[in-house]
Amino acid sequence: MIVAKMADSKVWKICIGATVNLIEEAAFKFTPEGIKMRAMDPSHIALVDFELPADAFVEYNVKQPAVLGINLAEMYKIVSRAKAEDELIIELDQERNRLGLTFKGASTRKLSLPLIDVGETELPEPKIQFTATAEVSAGVLQDGLKDAEVVGDNVRFELNNNGFFITAESDKGTAELKLVKGDKALIKLNLKQPARATFNIKYLSDMTKAASSTDTMIISLGTDLPIQLDFPVAEGKGRLRFLLAPRIEAE
């Protein structure tokens, strides 16, 4: 039996919304401890790591661990139907091999989608030694990325003693975002060593667009290392983390 009830459908919506552009199908692992999903996009440039422990749910009842294969585009269409502050109940219909999603608000609405077969290969956790982290406002980051998209395909992230910087440059022009110490949108800055790396903008905007602008995000960087983006999930109980491989310009 699998029944999981969340007080607010938003968490699920953000998780699916941020993942749907990267990955077509995903294997969600339901265990008595909680729900986990880790997947990479087909070209192995981006990774999504999602975890929601049992205590992040109002009600959580999973006796037997199960891996459920889900088409994310279909799932996204369904969660998009949830209204703000709707309760969400996820339920497995074993007999018909479907996953039901119930929205409870002014009324009770139930939608379901068929489960699909997905490979059950477990992805290892990458080992990356980040040297700098910053907590920033999601809205500010989204704006910086949108600016950068105007001029180019790639964007450089930099964390140093002065703050957090995004720059993009191409023959179409330049774009720059600065968040210096003392700026309200730069909530925390932690440096072992200044770091900078370049990334594809499209992946970053896909990852960040599901966040609401009032959220904050934690960025981890290392020079020429992947970027890690952490979204706040269920008051820090859960995890929605993205990794994106850098671009390294060789000679």
Binding site: H44, L47, P246, R247
Partner: protein, 342 residues
């Protein structure tokens, strides 16, 4: 032909996309030969320009390479140098087989047997010196590097992988494994929807990745023993022992330990050349560290002059290829996350 190890080697099917960001050392002769045999007109005749010159190899090299450059793969072609002395016989056998096939091809055409003609036509292909020069010129215009091997191209390609300058060697032959390539990728040039020869059936071909380390582990043999297995089965440098296939060879080597031991058994007399000399070719290959890999911008004007003006390629199709090269070039530098998995 190369050594036939397909039966005892585990291959892992992958998608072209999964190879993004990787440098692949491609056996140039092997690819050109493949293009020459599969890229044909309906009756099996080569593609030719208005002056009657064969262009099948250029068509394959340009369009297929553009496809994997677009998929984010960085190819480096490795050309053969001087073949080892022992290859002379293989070379002669191939020449005879080609001449025979060419005659059969003509005969089938005269008799109006199109499918049969095509089959023989494919066997009659020969990569000559001008074709190699043309291929190198085209690669130059495409902004892609190529390496001249002192000896066998496959040995040099394996060497590039061993030195970490390439992620894998690409070839249809398993010889790369005997030359010690840590990773081999097959089907790269023929990935996609392909017609089965002689039938009206289409199949999807995906790249296959073979890791030398896992092959050795699975078979429970050393690199030297794998080479010995190859020698028993037959390589480009020796006939192999009649009646011994890969499975039997594996069994024998595991039982006896090495080819020296086998030379002392009933099979000993059956080697027509010194197996130890063949082994040297694989274990101490003739390779060089003197090469430079540099990926540049494609030169659209150069490509069009060469392919369209000189060899009568369709301008619009060539433009599509150029667009793919440009796109792939723009995406260069995108690293894969696999680097950070323990």
């Amino acid at each position: 032909m190369g050594v036939q190890l397909g039966d005892i080697v585990t291959k892992q099917k992958v998608e072209l996309e999964q190879l993004r960001g990787q440098v692949v050392a491609i056996d140039a002769m092997n690819s050109l030969y493949q293009f020459l045999s599969i890229i044909r007109q309906r009756d099996g005749e080569y593609l030719r320009d208005s002056k009657g010159r064969i262009t099948s190899h250029l068509s394959g090299l340009f369009y297929r390479t553009a496809n994997f450059v677009e998929a984010g793969i960085h190819p480096v072609y490795v050309f053969d140098g001087e073949p080892p002395r022992l290859k002379a016989r293989t070379v002669e056998q191939r020449r005879v087989a080609r001449t025979e096939a060419a005659e059969e091809w003509k005969r089938a055409l005269e008799e109006g047997k199109v499918e049969e003609a095509k089959k023989f036509a494919q066997r009659a292909g020969r990569v000559d010196e001008p074709m190699i020069k043309q291929a190198q010129t085209l690669l130059g215009y495409m902004g892609l590097p190529w390496v001249q091997a002192p000896g066998e191209g496959e040995a040099q390609a394996a060497h590039l992988v061993q030195r970490g300058d390439a992620w894998a060697a690409a070839s249809q032959d398993f010889d790369s494994l005997l030359f010690g390539a840590p990773t081999l990728v097959r089907n790269l040039a023929i990935t996609g929807r392909r017609k089965l020869p002689g039938k009206d059936v289409y199949i999807m071909v995906s790249p296959e990745v073979i890791e030398l380390k896992s092959v050795l582990e699975e078979l429970g043999v050393t690199q030297e023993q794998l080479v010995d297995i190859g020698i028993l089965v037959g390589t480009d440098y020796n006939e192999g022992i009649k009646g011994i296939g890969p499975k039997k060879a594996l069994e024998l080597i595991k039982k006896e330990g090495s080819i020296e031991k086998i030379a002392g058994t009933e099979f000993g007399e059956k080697f027509e050349v010194d197996p130890l000399e063949v082994r040297e070719i694989f274990l101490k290959p003739n390779v060089t560290d003197k090469y430079k890999l540099k990926w540049g911008e494609p030169d659209p004007d150069g490509i069009k002059r060469f392919l369209c003006d000189e060899h009568d390629f369709s301008e619009s199709r060539v433009q599509t290829g150029i667009d793919k090269l440009t796109k792939g070039r723009a995406e260069r530098g995108q690293v894969s996350l696999k680097k950070w998995f323990g």
